[in-house]
Symmetry: D2
Subunit: 389 residues, 4 copies
C-alpha cells in the first residue's frame, strides 16, 4: 500500500512538522534534505503559501544597479535583487544598467492594467448566445455590482465578448490594486456568473474559465489586451555611449536588430526581443511573485529605430506583466526584504514595481544585444585582418 | 556621482563580501536584508552561478507524492519537491497524484531531444543565400566536426534551414547529454560559424543568433520542432475513479475540455491545457533549473478523449521542456538535495527528470480541471434545486 | 525604350480600346487573346472596376443545391452558383447540401459585423501616446461626427486601442450596410484622422494604416474581433443520416475530427476546419466579391461534438467573412445574375448572402470530412479482411 | 419534395445541358442567367473542371506591365493579366511596375519547392508512436517507392515528423513538376499509407490528412516549411527614383514600414506586407489557378532596409505560393491564353510563373506603400502650412 506524506492536523506549519516530513523523505528515498531544512523564519508565516512544507530552496541573489528610471511611479536610482543560478545574468543586467545610467535613464509608462477571469456560457445555438451578448451589455452595471460584492479592492472595468459556435466567451477585466489578483477576480467572476446563471433563462451551462483568461499561458488575446500591467520601457542611447561602453555602432546594432526581428516573426515568437524572461524571472523569485506567471509575463514587443540625430531609440513593451506588492508570497521574509530594497512592499507600490521590472528588462536587452554583436564584429574583424578575398 | 556596488576583486564569493554588499544596500536604501543574509553554505560554491551575491531567496518547498510513473527512465513511485509561494498548488498536485496512483500511474515517453543555436547568414541577395543552403547540406560532416571540437558531450544532430529574403536562418540541433546545454551549443555553433565564415566566400555577415532558437521565448518553431526534451505524459482514468476521487463524470470533464480547448484555439494560446507552468516552475526553482526557461517549457498540447469503455484518456505533450541534472544550478546545496529526492542528480538522469516533470504536470492538469467542473456542477446543482424553469 | 500599354484618354472603356490592347499584346508577346476578347457586355459598365481592360476570364460556374437554410435573413432553399476550375468541388458541396437537407437544414446566425481602418499615431514617447488614448475615448462623439461626414451609410461603432512603444494603434470599427466598405471606412477614417491631427497638439505623425485592420491578411486580431461579418453555421446531423448518406458513423467522424483539430492546433492554422476557402472562393468569383479577401475570409473555427442522443453537432464560425451585395463588382453582368439566383443583389441583402455563404461552407466541411473517413474506413476494412494479426 | 438540378447522364458537358439547367434555375428562382450563359467555347472542354455547369463568370481582365524581371526562369519584360473587379488594382500594380522598371527590375529566386499530404497514424500510446517514427526513417526508401508507383511526375523528397500524444503526424513532401500537385500527392501518399498500414503491425488507425498539410489554410508550418513554391522577390530602389516617381523619400517609407510591421507583429498577421493577396488573386483567376489557394499563397514576409548608399532595399518572401502551368484549370480557353501572354503555359513553366507572380506582388507592395505615405505627407504638409504650434 502507498505510504502517505505525514501531516499534523493541528500544528502542520511548524519546524517539527517540517522535520517529520524530511525524516520521512529520508526513509523513503534515502536522500538528505539538510540544506533544505535550514531556514531563518518560523513556518507559521507560511500558512496560505505552501502545503506539506519541508524547508526552502536557497536561491542565490545577486545585486544589480543602480538603475536610473524616469517613471511615473519609480523615479530615480534603484538597486535590483536578482535571484538566479545562471552565471553572468546579474553581470549582464548590471552592464546594461550602466549604459542606461550614462544615457539618461529609462523612461517607463504603465499603459494598461487589468486582471481577468473568462467564463464561457453555453447555449442551444449561436442565436441564443448572440442574444445573451446583448443582455450582458445591457446589464453590465448589475453584473458589476454582483462581482464586486466579493471584494473591496477589485473593480470590474469591462467585459469583452468573443462569440463562437454556440458559446459566448466573456473576458471580465478587473483592476486589482496592488495584488496580482487572480484569486480575487475568480471569486468576483464566480459571484457574477452564479447570479447571471440564475436570472438569465436560456443558459445550458457555464464554465468559470473558457481559456480566454489565459492564465499561465502566453496568448494573442493577452498580448493584444493586457493581463496584469502593460508597461513600456524606452530610452534613446547616444551613439557615442553605445560605442564607448558597448563597443558597437548604432548601425551595427540596428542591422542586427532587423535580422533578428525578421527571424522572430518567421519563427512565430511571442517575444521579438532577446531574453526578457531572464530579468523578470530573477526579480519574481527574489520578490515573492507567482513565478509561473513568467509564462505570460515574458511576452514582449521590442521596437527600435535610429533617430534623426543618429542615436538609438529602443523600447520594449511588456503586454502582460503580472506583479504584486501585496498578498501572495510578497510578505514572506526574504521576499519582503527584496521588495523593500526597491521600496516596493505593500499598498500603492505595484505600478512602481512594474516600472522597475520593465526598466530592468530593457537594460538586459541592450546588454545582451550588444554583446552578441561585439563578438561578431570581432570575428568579422579577424576575418578581414586575414586578408580574405 | 553614481555609487558602485562593492566588489572584492580577489575574494568576492565569501560571506564577508556578501555582508559588505548588504551593508552597502542598507546605507543606500535604508532597507534590511537580514533573512536574505541567512544561508547554510559557503558562498565559494556559487562561482559561475551568480555575481554580486548578497544572500538567498528562501522559497518554501512543499512535498507532493508519491506519484506513480510508468516511464522508460522513471519507473515507480516518486516524491516531488515543489518550491512556490502560491497556496493550494502543492495540495492540488498532490490530489492529482492520488487520482493517477489509483488509476495505474502515468505513462511517460521522451519522444524528441534537441538543444539549439540558430545563426543567420546574410548575403547580397536570396540567390546567394539559396546557393549557400546547398553548400551547408553538402558540408554537414565537416561542420559537425568543427562544432564538436568545443565539447565532448554535445553532438550536432542536424541543421534545419529557413531561407527568407537575403538571409539563411539555420537551426543547429544538438543533443547535450544531461546538461540543458545552452552554453554548450552556443560555443559549438560559434566555432562552426567562424569556420564557415572563413571558408565560404560570399557571406556578407553572420549573427550567432537569428531568433530561430528561440531561447527564453515560446514560438511555433519550438512547438513544432522541440527545444530541450519533448515529452508525452498520458493516462487512462477509469470513470469510477474520476467519480469517486474527483466527483465528476467522464462526460462532464470531456464536455468542459471541448469548450475550453476551443476557447484556447480562438485566444491563440501556446498551451491548450490548464496550468502546466505551475508544476514546472515549482520543480524548476526547487531543482536548480534555469527558471527563465518556463517561458518555453510551459508550452503544452493536451489531447483527451473518451475511450470505448467510457473511461477518460488524457495526455499532455510538452514540446520544449528544458531540464538539466548536471551543470548550471543543479549542484548547489538545496537544489542538489531536491534532485536527489527523486534520484535525479548527475549524469544519466536528465530524461528521468523530464519524465517526472511531465508526469507531475499531468497530475496537476487533472486536479485543476476536475476541481473547476465539480464547483460548477455544485452551482448548477443548487440552481436546479431552486426549481428554475 | 520600354513600350507602353495603349490607352485612349477619352474612350478607354470601349470594345475598340480593349481590342487595341489585345492587338498590342499579340505584337509584343506573340500570343492570342481570342477567348479573352469574347464577352457579352459593353465595357462602359466597367468604369471603376478595372483599368487597361482587355477582356474577361471565363470561369466556369457550376450549380449546387438546393441548400436548406434556417437563417434570420436567408430562410428556405437556395441554389448556389460556384465558379471554379477544380473538378469535384461542386459535386462535393452538392453532396453536403443533400446531407444537410435531409438533416433539417443549416442554422445560420450573424453574430458580429464591422469593417475597419486602423491608423497609428506616433508620439515622442509612450507617455504621450497613453495620454492621447484617454483623449480618444473622451472625444469619441466628435470623432464619429467627423468620420461620418464622408459617408451616408458607414457608421463608426467604436474605436479599439492597442498601445505599444511610442505608438497608439487604433482600430476604427464601422458598420457599412451592404457594401464591403473598405473604401468607405478608409475615407471616413482619413477624415477623422486629419481632424484629430489638427486639434491634438502632440502627434508626431500618423499613418492611415498601422497593420491592425488587417486588410487582405489573416490575423489573430481579425479572428478575435471580426472583419466583415462573423457568421456561425451549425447543424445537428442525425446518426442514421450520416450513416445512410455518408457511410460513416458519428463515432468515426468525431474521432477523426479530434485527431485533425489537434494537428491543426499544433500546425498553427488559422482554420481548424477542412476547406472553407473552396466554397467561399467559388461564391466570391461568381458573385463579384473582392476575391482577394479570401485571405481573411477563409479563417474558420470548427466546433463539433456528439450529442446526448448520439447525433453529430457540427458548427463552423467564420470570423471575418467579407461580403457585399452592393458596390464593387456586384453590379457587373454575370456577377449580378449570380447574386440574383439567390435573391442577394442590392440593398439589404449582405447578411442574407453571408448566411448562405456560411451554410454552404458547412455543407462542404461535412462532405469532405466524411469522404476522407469513408475511404479510410474502406482501407481499414480491406486490411482487416486480409486477416492481419 | 425537393427538386433536383437536372443532369444528363450521357451528355452533360454540352451547351444544351447547361441551358437546361439555366432554364431550371429561371423557373425555380425567377432569375435570369443570360450573361452567364454566354461563353466562347465548347463545354466539353470542362470535364474534370466543373460539375453542373451553367455558364461562366466573366471576370474583367486588365493588363499591367511591362514588368522587368531578373529571374532564373523569368528574365526580361512581361505583361501581366490581372482579373479583378476592384478598381485601381491594375493601375496600382502598373505604377509599381514602372518604378521597378526604372530601378533596374525585380530579382526573383525560387528557394524551395514542395507539395504535401500529411497523414496521421494513431497508436496505443506515445511510445508506440515514437517507435514507429524510427521505422519511418529506416524505411524511407521503400515508402518512396510505394508512393511513386502512382505518379510519373511526383517525387517524394522527404517525410517530416511531428509526434504528439499517441499520434505521429507525418508531412510527406513531394516535388510535383509543373502541376500544383494536390491530387497527385494525395494519391501517392495514400498508396504509401496503405502499404505502411499493411506491414507495420501496431497501427490503431490512420487518417490520410491530419491537418499538417495545411491545404487551403494559412499556418505556421507552411510558413516555416513551404507549400508549393517559396519565392523571394527583391530590389533596391534608388532614392531619386522613389522621390521622382513615388514622391516619397527613403526615410519616409522606411519609417512607415517600421511602424506598420510592428503593428502587424502585434496583430498576429500571416503577412507583414501590404496586399499581396490582391495581385496573386488577380493572376490566379486570370490564369486558371486554384484560387482557393489564396488562403495559403497570400502569406508573406517583407524585409526592407536602407542601404549604405541611402537607397531602399525591399524584399518579399512568399513561403507558400501554389502555382501550376499544367493541369487543373490552366488549359481552359481564357486561362491558357492568359498564361501564354507570359509564355507560361505547359511543361517546364511553373517556376517561371512563380517568379512573375512574386515580382508582380513586389511591385504592388511598393505602389501601395508609397501611395499611403505620399497622402500622409501631403496632409502633414498642409498641417505644417497652417503654422500650428
Amino acid at each position: 500500500m502507498t505510504v502517505k506524506i505525514p501531516r499534523d492536523k493541528e500544528y502542520d506549519y511548524t519546524r517539527e512538522a517540517a522535520e517529520t516530513r524530511r525524516r520521512f523523505l529520508n526513509e523513503q528515498t534515502n536522500s538528505d534534505a539538510n540544506h533544505v531544512g535550514q531556514f531563518s523564519f518560523e513556518p507559521s508565516v507560511l500558512q496560505g503559501n505552501i502545503e506539506n512544507f519541508i524547508g526552502v530552496a536557497q536561491v542565490p541573489i545577486g545585486l544589480a544597479g543602480p538603475i536610473l528610471i524616469n517613471g511615473e511611479y519609480a523615479a530615480g536610482e534603484f538597486f535590483v535583487p536578482l535571484a538566479t543560478t545562471e552565471g553572468t545574468l546579474v553581470a549582464s543586467y548590471n552592464r546594461g544598467m550602466k549604459l542606461l545610467r550614462e544615457s539618461g535613464g529609462v523612461t517607463t509608462t504603465v499603459v494598461d492594467d487589468a486582471m481577468q477571469r473568462a467564463p464561457v456560457f453555453v447555449f442551444k445555438s449561436a442565436r441564443e448566445a448572440r442574444d445573451f451578448s446583448v443582455w450582458i451589455k445591457e446589464n453590465f452595471d448589475e453584473i458589476k455590482i454582483k462581482a464586486e460584492t466579493t471584494t473591496s479592492v477589485g473593480k470590474l472595468r469591462d467585459i469583452q465578448q468573443f462569440p463562437a459556435s454556440r458559446f459566448l466567451y466573456l473576458r471580465f477585466n478587473f483592476t486589482t490594486g496592488d495584488a496580482a489578483g487572480q484569486n480575487m477576480v475568480t471569486q468576483a467572476t464566480q459571484a457574477a456568473c452564479v447570479w447571471i446563471n440564475e436570472v438569465y433563462p436560456y443558459i445550458e451551462r457555464f464554465q468559470l474559465e473558457g481559456s480566454f483568461a489565459t492564465d499561465k499561458k502566453t496568448s494573442f488575446v493577452n498580448t493584444l489586451h493586457t493581463r496584469g500591467k502593460k508597461v513600456v520601457a524606452e530610452a534613446t542611447i547616444p551613439a557615442e555611449k553605445l560605442k564607448k561602453i558597448m563597443h558597437v555602432s548604432v548601425e551595427q546594432i540596428f542591422e542586427a536588430r532587423l535580422a533578428s526581428q525578421f527571424g522572430g516573426y518567421l519563427a512565430g515568437v511571442n517575444n521579438n526581443g532577446a531574453h526578457s524572461a531572464n530579468g523578470i524571472t530573477a526579480m519574481f523569485i527574489a520578490c515573492g511573485q507567482d513565478v509561473a506567471n513568467v509564462a505570460e509575463s515574458s511576452a514582449a514587443a521590442v521596437y527600435a529605430e535610429i533617430t534623426n540625430s543618429g542615436d538609438y531609440y529602443f523600447s520594449i513593451t511588456l503586454p502582460s506583466l503580472i506583479v504584486a506588492t501585496y498578498g501572495g508570497g510578497t510578505g514572506l521574509p526574504t521576499q519582503r526584504e527584496c521588495l523593500e530594497i526597491m521600496d516596493c512592499y505593500g499598498a500603492g507600490k505595484a505600478k512602481k514595481f512594474a516600472e522597475i521590472a520593465a526598466a530592468t528588462v530593457l537594460c538586459g536587452e541592450l546588454s545582451l544585444g550588444t554583446a552578441v554583436i561585439a563578438d561578431e564584429w570581432v570575428s568579422s574583424h579577424e576575418r578581414l585582418g586575414r586578408n580574405r578575398p
